[in-house]
């Protein structure tokens, strides 16, 4: 990877992390949703670098163009436009933060060890795999080895669709 590409990757990681901090802590729920949009975009860039180009496209379509709109609609339908009553400061912020720091440090240690172990045993065909386009293998997997989960997810989506429409129906 050239220096420019590395810089873009580091920038995307920074964008993702900063946006995630805003999502978790920003008192204004609308700004938190917009930061979630930025987080999704950053994650899509990370997917591209990990050789998951098809997944990056799906991430943008489903998350940025879909889930973000859903969340923004929910925010706009449940908050007052003129009296922006969006203050959501967590008064009980101290305990979750301590818990988060503890959790993260232990996770970091475990993952660091795991990553070192994995990197010491590189799989064969790593370079070839990373360079391939991934649309066809994913398609073959979905209709081959993963056919049952695929069909189950379609049933789940149908149920979610019907359920969401039913729950949100006008009186």
């Amino acid at each position: 990877m050239s220096a420019g590409l590395k810089l873009v990757l580091l920038g995307a990681q920074a964008l993702t992390v900063v946006s995630a901090i805003l999502v978790a802590f920003h008192p204004n729920i609308l700004y938190a949703s917009v930061s979630l949009l930025a987080t999704f975009a950053g994650v899509a860039v990370l997917f591209v670098y990990a050789g998951a180009d098809f997944l990056a496209g799906v991430q943008v379509v489903v998350y940025v163009g879909g889930v973000t709109i859903l969340i923004l609609f929910a925010v706009m339908l449940t908050q007052w436009l003129y009296e922006m009553r969006l203050r959501d400061v967590g008064v009980k912020l101290l305990m979750p933060c301590i818990l988060g720091v503890l959790f993260f440090s232990s996770l970091f240690k475990v993952l660091g060890g795991l990553a070192a172990w994995v990197l010491a045993r590189p799989p064969e065909g790593l370079e070839k795999f990373a360079a391939l386009p991934k649309t066809e293998p994913i398609g073959e997997a979905l209709l081959g080895a993963y056919l049952l989960p695929f069909e189950a997810v379609t049933v789940l989506l149908l149920g979610a669709l019907v359920g969401a429409v039913w729950l949100a129906r006008p009186k």
């Binding site: 992390v17 987080t39 998350y63 859903l70 979750p96 994995v118 979610a160």
Partner: protein, 108 residues
């Protein structure tokens, strides 16, 4: 310095970003009162899991299975967000607020 950059642009970087997103998701869910804010935390956690799957798919397996798992995560997260927001809208119609402290109808 150079080796830190190497690690950050390799497997370590992906796992660290995933871990940060997971932790922030948990903190968000625990500390936010607004139910939509809780949903935002859940979405962060799902994204973190997807990043982990994709990273290991590349560095450990060199196979497509991790990406298929991440694809399923994205699909299920979208379905779950739709249902959760429908519930939140129903709740809002009942209580005229989305404050999670107000969700106490089953108490006592």
């Amino acid at each position: 310095m150079r080796e830190y950059v190497e690690m950050a642009t390799g497997l370590h970087g992906y796992l660290t970003v995933g871990a940060i997103l997971l932790t922030l998701g948990i903190v968000g869910v625990l500390s936010r009162k607004n139910t939509i804010g809780i949903l935002l935390g859940v979405e962060l956690m799902l994204n973190a899991a997807a990043i982990n799957f994709v990273a290991f798919s590349k560095y450990r397996a060199a196979a497509i299975d991790g990406q298929v798992a991440a694809l399923f995560i994205i699909l299920i997260a979208a379905a779950e967000a739709a249902v959760a927001l429908a519930i939140i809208l129903r709740f809002y119609r009942l209580k005229q607020t989305v404050d999670s402290d107000e969700a106490n109808l089953l108490r006592n």
